[in-house]
């Protein structure tokens, strides 16, 4: 159960992104930590340290109103109406597609 790699990743992200990411920074770094912890669940089942860290991160995410799916919740969220998709964020070209794949050895 190698939970330390998640802590190191979290610390590295905190130091790298310090002052760069704006108000969402805390949530982004915590979410990365959370995603890393989630991936360790199989190896860490029943590990007390793992459970402690996981609870700690979950609590911190809750304190910061961080969602787990990549969006920071705020008090304004419920008030805001559904935004219109900017035209540039939709694809307007011909819906004819090409495919590519890479697999195997």
């Amino acid at each position: 159960c190698d939970i330390d790699t998640c802590a190191k990743q979290f610390q590295r992200l905190q130091s790298v992104e310090n002052g760069v990411m704006g108000p969402d920074k805390e949530c982004i770094t915590l979410r990365t930590y959370w995603n890393c912890i989630k991936k360790k669940v199989r190896d860490c089942k029943g590990d007390l340290n793992y459970l402690t860290v996981r609870t700690g991160v979950k609590n911190r995410m809750g304190q910061n109103n961080c969602s787990k799916n990549g969006r920071t919740l705020g008090p304004e969220d419920e008030k805001t109406s559904v935004p219109t998709i900017p035209s540039v964020c939709s694809y307007h070209g011909k819906k004819v597609y090409k495919h590519c794949g890479l697999f195997g050895d």
């Binding site: 992200l13 540039v88 964020c89 070209g93 090409k98 794949g101 697999f103 050895d105």
Partner: protein, 251 residues
Amino acid sequence: PHLSTFHGDFQTCKVQGAWPLVKNKFLLVQVTNDPVTGESSATATSKLTVVIKKNQDCAIEPYLMYQAQTDALPGAFHDGHTHYGPHKAVELLEIEEGKHVEIHIRYIATTIVVRQIGRYFTFAIKMPEEIVNSTKGDSNSGLCDRGCPAHERINYQEYLATRHKKIDNLKEDSAIKVQMPRSDAEGICREAKVVDFYFDSCVFDLMTTGDKNFTLAALSALQDIIKLDPSIVNSQLNRTDFRKYDKTFGN
């Protein structure tokens, strides 16, 4: 690895090291292919990087990166986000933790599918023809557009046709050893219900490595491409034999 290009070519290539798969003004996808462990000289994809280039209006600044390495297929982009922009203009979906992710880039109607099977990755992309064609002929456009360079290609049809007759004589041939007889590999791949190029790839991989994970990789690659373009089913020949190759190369 085995490559099906945007233009319908099917190739088996060496391409060891780092290679661009897709390279245009919106997107860069790069893979690193390493030798497969064991005695085989085959290579497979152990690292994959997707860089979505800056798009101010759709909230990507200065760029957005997704990176996967063997045993680390993250469920988020490098900064922890899983989506960006209005109405999730860019979204990463973790379909199966550590095994299967999809990236949707809605403003260019593009879908990327990445899976880890065994120690290696499979990759599939669906992209509008207009965007694909915008880089056609560009020498830097990537393997999906240009295919593998000629000197990196392996004549898999010849390999499949000739190697199965020479198993006993192959000990001195260090280039590509046969780890499993063709007949055994054919049986496994028929049972897996892979067809056409995917059948060829499945048998080739079993013969070169003996690793059955590559059977699943071929099956997943086929299923992914059908999911991205269901009309492909209509053009399938459902071939699961090598009579054509044996006839051409058998002598």
